[in-house]
Every structure is written in C-alpha cells, then in structure tokens.
C-alpha cells in the first residue's frame, strides 16, 4: 500500500476516535454534581442572572442537543467559551499550546539522549556494575514526585547557584520572537536572533530536565531489553566472526534493530510527559496548558477542560501516526497496510 494513502487513512481514522473522546469528555462535564454556573456567576447572583448565563451557554437545552451543538462546533473551529473569562477556548489553546509543546518536546529529547545511551551501556555491560548503576539511577529518579523535584531544582539552580532562571519562558524585558510556530527556540532561530535563543534555552532547561526524569526509566529499560535481544541474533555472531569492530556492530547494526521498540516507548512517553507538564508548569510559572488546565478544573470551567482533552487526543493520535512512519524509516522491511 502506498504510504501517502496509508497516512491519509490513519488521519481519517482519527475522526471516530475524536467523536468517542468528545462523547466521553461531554459525559464527564455533564455529570458535574456541583453548580458551575452558580460558581461562575458568583455568590450574589440572582436566579435570573444564572438563568441568563445558562441560556447564553446553551445549558438549558436537552443534553443530546447540547452534544450535537458541541461536536458540530468542534469541527467548525468553535470549541466553546470559558464560563469565567468568556474567551474562546480554541483561541486560548492556540495561545498556550506552543509553550507546552516546546517543554514536552525538549523533555522527550533529553530523556531519549540520556535513556538510549544508558540502555546501550546496560546491555553491553549486562549484569555488571554499569548495568546496575543505570538501573538504580533510572528507578531512583522516576520515583520522585516531579512537582516536588521541580521545586528543589528551581531553588538549587535558580536561587542558590544563581545559574539559571527560576521560571517563565523569557525575562520580562525580552520580547518574544515573532511568532511563526510559537516555539521560542524555533522562532528565534528563524529570526536568526541568537540572543533570544540562548535566553529561552536557559529558561527551558530546568523544567525540561525535571520533566524528562519521568520517561528516563522506561526508555532505558526498553532499550536495554531490545539491545540484549538483538545482541543474541545470529547476524551479530557473524559480524564478529568476520572481524567487524564491536563498537561498529553495536552502534551501526544492533542499535538500529533495537531502536524500533524504543521509538514506541518514546512516543508513548510523549503523551505522558505532556500530561506531566501540567504539574511542572505550575511550579515554573510556564505559560502553557498546565496552568490553564489546573485553573479550569478547580473552578469547574468545563469547556476549557473538554478542549484540552480533545487537543491532547489529537496530538496523541498524530504522534502515533508519526511513530508508524519512523518505524518504516528505521526498518525498511515494514510495509504499511
């Protein structure tokens, strides 16, 4: 099957998933035992004001009508409004999403750069000291509550050592680069603004590092396991027999075979870290989806929460498709069908 057709089919298949997802989030939003409208209108609101608010947000309609309104809005770019700020959810998501994407991507890159070598070393020195050290370290770091570790690192690196900024994406006085992607690192590079690039990299480093710990253990483990499996294949013995240096065998042949499983785990981690970012963002005052999600959920403001869930669903599906494409690059034997 043609790869373009395969991707197109996968993209189309996102739609039923999204419909299911919107049904799920809609169900969650409507089981609310609390009174979001009452909360939003304030303690002194009269019944008329609440009624007007309900009418304005369509909450006086029967549930099926509400759902159909919501789902047709989703496809037309109307993701509803916040009960509190009255702002368009889609606009808010557009504003906050790049910060979260940048943070998550950086964390996944760090976790992969640390985790894959750790896994390779573990497999090469199987059941010897480096293997045990890598194993303990990865379990050690993944066991910390990320939000707590974030506070500690923020203090150490930001306050005590004064090496790195303690929060936000840029200093107050630095203007963000002209938005093309919304990712400060990419945008500043496009503008060839290396000063801003350096500053935003410094701001990104600690939050991304802390976030990456959550993925380190699983990436190390899967890389180790699949390396060990690949090392026992016949082709390795053959290559050693004809005298190819061990390092070349490891990095050129074995690693490439082992990376397919790693790619799966890395892409799964992308979703988990995107959720973990919610916690990290609240510590570092990182203006992403996390702060937005926490505020919305504490005030029972359900349009933004539903919007975030749908957005995460889309991103996760897209990441899955990208993963499948990477499989094909790593292993030309894989056929799309």
């Amino acid at each position: 099957m043609n790869i373009r057709f395969y991707i197109l089919r996968r993209v189309v298949l996102i739609i039923p998933t999204l419909i299911g997802l919107s049904l799920l989030t809609f169900a969650i939003a409507r089981i609310v035992p609390g009174d979001p409208v009452g909360l939003a209108a304030g303690p002194r609101a009269t019944e008329e004001i609440k009624e007007a608010l309900r009418r304005e947000f369509g909450l006086d309609q029967p549930l099926p009508v509400q759902y159909i309104d919501y789902i047709s809005g989703l496809f037309q770019g109307d993701w509803g409004q916040s009960l509190y700020t009255r702002r368009e959810v889609l606009g808010d998501l557009r504003a906050f999403w790049p910060a979260t994407l940048e943070l998550t991507t950086a964390a996944v890159i760090i976790a992969t750069l640390l985790g894959v070598p750790a896994g390779v070393i573990s497999a090469m020195y199987r059941n010897r000291l480096p293997d045990h050290v890598a194993r303990v370290l990865s379990l050690f770091f993944v066991s910390f509550p990320s939000f707590w570790l974030a506070m500690i690192f923020q203090t150490w690196f930001g306050r005590d050592l004064g090496m790195l900024p303690i929060g936000k994406r840029l200093p107050v006085l630095v203007a963000p680069p002209q938005a093309t992607t919304g990712l400060f690192l990419v945008d500043s590079l496009i503008q060839l603004d290396f000063a801003t690039f350096a500053v935003s990299l410094r701001h990104l480093f600690i939050p991304a590092l802390v976030l990456s710990f959550g993925a380190f253990a699983s990436i190390t483990r899967i890389t180790r396991a699949s390396m060990v499996e690949a090392l026992e294949k016949d082709f390795v013995r053959m290559e050693r027999a004809i005298g190819i240096p061990y390092r070349v065998i490891i990095f050129k042949y074995v690693l490439r075979n082992a990376l397919i499983a790693t790619v799966t785990v890395v892409s799964l981690n992308f979703g988990w870290l995107m959720a973990g970012a919610i916690l990290i963002e609240t510590i570092f005052d990182w203006p992403g989806l996390g702060l937005y999600a926490v505020e919305a959920s504490l005030s029972l403001d359900f349009q933004p929460i539903m919007g975030i869930a749908v957005l995460y669903g889309i991103v996760f599906s897209v990441v899955n498709i990208l993963t499948d494409i990477v499989y094909g690059i790593l292993d030309p034997r894989i056929r799309y069908g």
Binding site: I31, P145, T155, T282
Partner: protein, 297 residues
C-alpha cells in the same frame, strides 16, 4: 476418587515449585529485597502511626499557632507548618492513607480492566471491537488529564480522586488481560474444560485467568508506585485530599508558599512519597525479572 486427589496434589506441587523458584530468584535480587524492606518499613509506620507520631492529633485539625513555622528540632523532627502542626507526625499519619489510596486505585482499576479485557479477549467479534474501541478512547488522552477532569467533575476530595484515577487506570489492565486471554483461550485445557461442559464464566475465571495471573500481578506492582504519585499530584493541584487530611501531595502544596525559606514543610512529605514509590518500583522491577524471564538475561 483417590486418583483424582493425587492429580490435584501434583498440580499444587507444580505451582508450589514455581513459586519457590520465583521466590528464590526474587530473594537473590538484592535491590528488590531492599525495596521489600523499604515497603515493610512503610507498612510498619502505617500500622503503628498513632504510637510513632509524637503529636497524632496534628493530623486531624489540631493547631498550635504559637509554634508555627519552626525549623526541625528535637521536639519537631521535621519542623512545623503554618499553623504549628508537627510535620513529622503528619507525614507518619499520612503513610497509611497513601498505602490505602494506592491499594484502592490498583484494586479498582484491576477489577475493571481484567473484567473488560477477559470478556473482550474471550468473546471476540463485535463485543471485542466495541470494548477495545472504548479502551482506545481512554488511552488517547494522558491518564493524568482525564483523572483531573473526572475528579474535578465529581468534586474535590480524596475518595473522588481515587475514583477518578481508577477510572482512567483500567485500560492498561484491559489491554494486557485481553492479549493474555487471546492466547490462552486456544490452549487444549480450555477446549477440554469446554468439552466436559464448563460454562463460559467458569472457563474464564477458573481456567484462563489463573494462568494469566503473573503478568497481571507484575503490572499491579509496577503501577502501584505511579498510582501513589498520581494521587499525590491531584492532592498537590488541590483536587485530592482536603485540609486537614495529612495527604502528602496536599502537604507539599501547603509548603509551596513557604519554600525555600521554610523548606521543611514541603521537603519531608516529598521524601516520604519518594520512599514509598521507590520501594514499589524496586519490587516491581524484581518481580518482572522473576515472572518474565525474557526481561532480564
């Protein structure tokens, strides 16, 4: 009759041998033994909490404003918080809560997930398709995001947080159980059970699931630590346990405003979470080796 008895005994012997061998492998793994010791320590603390904590009443709303924000000392090993409560007592009293939260989440998630996975794998056909599509929808959104949404909708509180987390935690168990059942249902002993007239429920619960137990138990163990972490995260956000419950995540949130000057308020609950999660992760890592020989060679 006598013959049948012997048969049953042999089967038990085989199971016992496997268990003993597994136990031996587990015991020879020093890291997992360390994890087990740490876990026993937390259980000990949880059971004897009222005796260990010097000020057990501080866990349930007592305040002592005169002694607020004191640094760690001999009377207050971990210092005191903004209303003068002894952090050490609150951390100790919160141990049992954290263990209970993890247990409830894992048991709920396992029962939902295993039931759905077993039905899905055993029945096949449209029912399998339907159940797996539902599972996929849950897997499309990161668990923490859905857990936040569900707990928020149900209302703040530790019970609702546990329900919320369990409701997003089952899909992993469903997927795992389904894959196990799919291969087990082709085994001759299932055909034999069917042949002598066993019903579907009996085949699933007495013949298939006992043979699928090991991987499910590993997953329960490795997931335990992360369930505790997730519950603490909800507490930290403000959705989980409400004051004055000595829930570790909520305590860290409490101490956040005073960090780093009064560092002890947030630091010690964080270390307590780490200790419990680390112990479960070490045990889970060892169990994986024992029950799944492929994972560590």
């Amino acid at each position: 009759m006598a013959e049948q008895k012997n048969w049953a005994k042999d089967k038990n012997n085989a199971r016992w041998d496997n268990l003993a061998r597994g136990l031996y492998r587990f015991r020879s793994n020093r890291l997992s033994m360390l994890g087990l010791l740490m876990l026993l320590f937390t259980v000990f603390v949880a059971v004897f909490a009222p005796l260990i904590a010097p000020f057990p009443e501080d866990a349930s709303g007592a305040t002592n404003v005169l002694e607020r924000l004191q640094a760690p000392s001999e009377t207050h090993l971990f210092g005191t918080d903004k209303v003068g409560r002894d952090i050490f007592s609150r951390v100790v009293m919160g141990t049992g809560l954290a263990l209970q939260v993890g247990t409830v989440i894992i048991l709920l998630a396992t029962s939902i997930g295993v039931t759905i996975g077993a039905i899905s794998g055993y029945a096949g056909g449209w029912l399998d398709d339907l159940l797996m599509r539902i599972t996929d929808i849950f897997l499309t959104v990161p668990a923490l995001v859905l857990a936040i949404a569900i707990s928020a909708a149900l209302g703040k509180g530790i019970i609702n947080a546990m329900i919320g987390i369990s409701l997003v935690w089952w899909p992993g168990f469903a997927r795992l159980t389904r894959s196990l059942v799919l291969s087990l249902r082709e085994e001759p002993f299932v055909e034999a059970a069917y042949g002598i007239g066993a019903g579907h429920a009996r085949i699933i619960f007495r013949h298939i699931l006992p043979n699928a137990a090991s991987p499910i138990i590993i997953k329960m163990t490795t997931d335990f630590g992360f369930a505790v972490l997730t519950a603490a995260a909800l507490g930290f956000i403000g959705l989980g346990a409400q004051p004055p419950t000595p829930e570790w995540g909520a305590m860290i949130n409490d101490g956040r405003r005073y960090f780093p000057d009064e560092w002890w308020i947030a630091t010690f609950p964080g270390l307590a979470i780490w200790l419990m999660v680390f112990s479960w992760n070490l045990i889970g890592d060892g169990l994986r080796d024992v029950l799944d020989p492929r994972s560590r060679r």
